[in-house]
Every structure is written in structure tokens, then in C-alpha cells.
Symmetry: C2
Subunit: 143 residues, 2 copies
Amino acid sequence: MTDLSIGELSRRVAVKVPTIRYYEQIGLLPAPPRTEGRQRRYGAGDVSRLSFIRHARELGFEVEAIRELLSLSARPEQPCEPADRIVLRHLEGVERRIAQLALLRSELRHMLEDCRHGQVGECRIIQVLADHDQCRHEHGRVE
Amino acid sequence: MTDLSIGELSRRVAVKVPTIRYYEQIGLLPAPPRTEGRQRRYGAGDVSRLSFIRHARELGFEVEAIRELLSLSARPEQPCEPADRIVLRHLEGVERRIAQLALLRSELRHMLEDCRHGQVGECRIIQVLADHDQCRHEHGRVE
DNA sequence: CGTACAATCTCCAGCGACTAGAGGTTCAAG
DNA sequence: CTTGAACCTCTAGTCGCTGGAGATTGTACG
């Protein structure tokens, strides 16, 4: 397998070219060798590493977590418990987020149901926004 | 009711001082009158408007949506259908997000279940990350 | 009235994870 | 050898704040 240009790597892994350069800049991807004209050339290892990164991002892991997961994966003899803990921590975050969003969803649905579709002056949507006490639930800030 | 300093407004509405100044900067809150020494002084109208904003943010509305909702609420004679549409659009976004996060949650749970808690070299977590095809679901990018 | 000090002011930078654009260079096909 | 797509670097912008520096103002107390 011959070396890949950044564009070929991009198409193969489905990660945009500027994103690949960004990953190099923040040290997630190693700086690859260059041609005479200073263009990047990637090998099979880079394809794997970038796939790993892409997949972890799709699963919502933060870059810092991915950095740790990558460095763990480089030491196969070590116990995998640290990786376990990273995933568990992330799962808990996802669960908290789902719970918050479900509250939000219910609040938004009620607002729409209660709206009589008349004028703004008597619109429940506007009224509820203006007065938190009319809400069904307590909701903290999302995101 | 006497005028409020930015700190008093902040405590009353539970929005941080720099955030209040930021809202003024982006035109969400009107620039209030100032004292001789150029300190801001707020009235009852600002308390309501900022409460509205805070509540809408808690419900996950973007600043642009809040801008529209605020300008709608200033015209009580108009039909409330535009407000309706903004809320519906937001609700749909929330629902999409919940669905994606639920997929993620399931994937993360499977990863944790499958992990034998041994060494990294045989860890399912690392393997799944390295190879998307081992996933139960298709998942696009979250957020 | 003077002093101390908390609160306020403006301006600027940073967060996370990219994304986009300008302006210039290199590669590869024909 | 020419053309033009792809590449290069650098900078700035996204969203919604948040924090800090360094200067000024308001207010309570003696």
C-alpha cells in the first residue's frame, strides 16, 4: 500500500482535510513525513489511528479522553480498567444529558399543547417563557 | 422599586454579571441608563426581560431564537403562530438529539458489558473503537 | 469629610472542536 | 510544458459565555 496524500486519507476515513491538519496541530495525529514540496504523506498506521479518532468522536468522546484512550491502546499489556473508567464516565454524562433533554422535551410539548394559537398577548408559550413558575419541572441549564 | 446595580440584577435573576454585559453587547438586553460614574442602573423591565432570556436559555433556545421570541412578545396583537413554529422547531431538534444520544448510550453500555476487564490487548472497548464495523448501530456525529 | 474596599468599568483572551478563507505553491495528467 | 486540482500556511470566525488585568466608582464607617 502506497502512501496517501491528505486528500486521499480524508476520503478513506471520512474526516475533512482541515480537521486532519487540526488533529496534527493538537497532537492527536503524529506529524507525517513530507514530500520534497512539503506535502504530507500518510501510511497505514495513520489510517487506523484516524479511524479510531473518528469513531471515538462519533461516540461523543472529548479529545482529551481520546488522547488517553489512544495512549492506552498503545500498551496492550496494561490492565484495561482505565479505559473502562473513561467509557463509564462518558456513559454517565450521556445519561445525564438524556435525562435533561427529556425534561426539556416534556416542557416544550406542554407549551405547544397549551397554546391556543391565537394572539401573542394570550399565548401560553410567551407567558411560560416570561414566568418560570408556570413550568411543570425544574430544569437547570442544558449543555 | 429603586434602580438596581448590575450586581443586584445578577443576584435577582441568577445570571452572572459578565453574562449580563454580554447580552447587552449582542443586543439582547437594551443598554440601560448610567450613573454619573458610568455604572449601569436597571429597572423592573430589565428584570422581566432578563428572566425571559434566562428561562429561554434554560430551555435550550439559541440566542437568535430568543431574539425573535422577544420581539414577538413585544407585539401582543400579532398571531402567535411564529412563536409556535420556533418552539416546534426547537422541540424537533431536542427529539433528534435524544434519539442520537440513546443510540450512543446503548453502544457505550455494550462496550462496557463486553469488556472482560483484562488487558488492553484483548479489550473490547479498544477493539470497538478501532473498528467501527463491530458496532451494533450506525451512529453519525453527535452535537 | 476622609478612607478603605467592594463593586463596577472596559478591553481582551480563551474555551472546544472544528470550519472557512486568502494567497501562494506543488503535483500529476495530458 | 502547461494547466488546474490539490496542497500549503496563517489567520479569523463559530457559539455562548467566562475570566483576568488594570483602572475607576460607590458606599459604609469612623
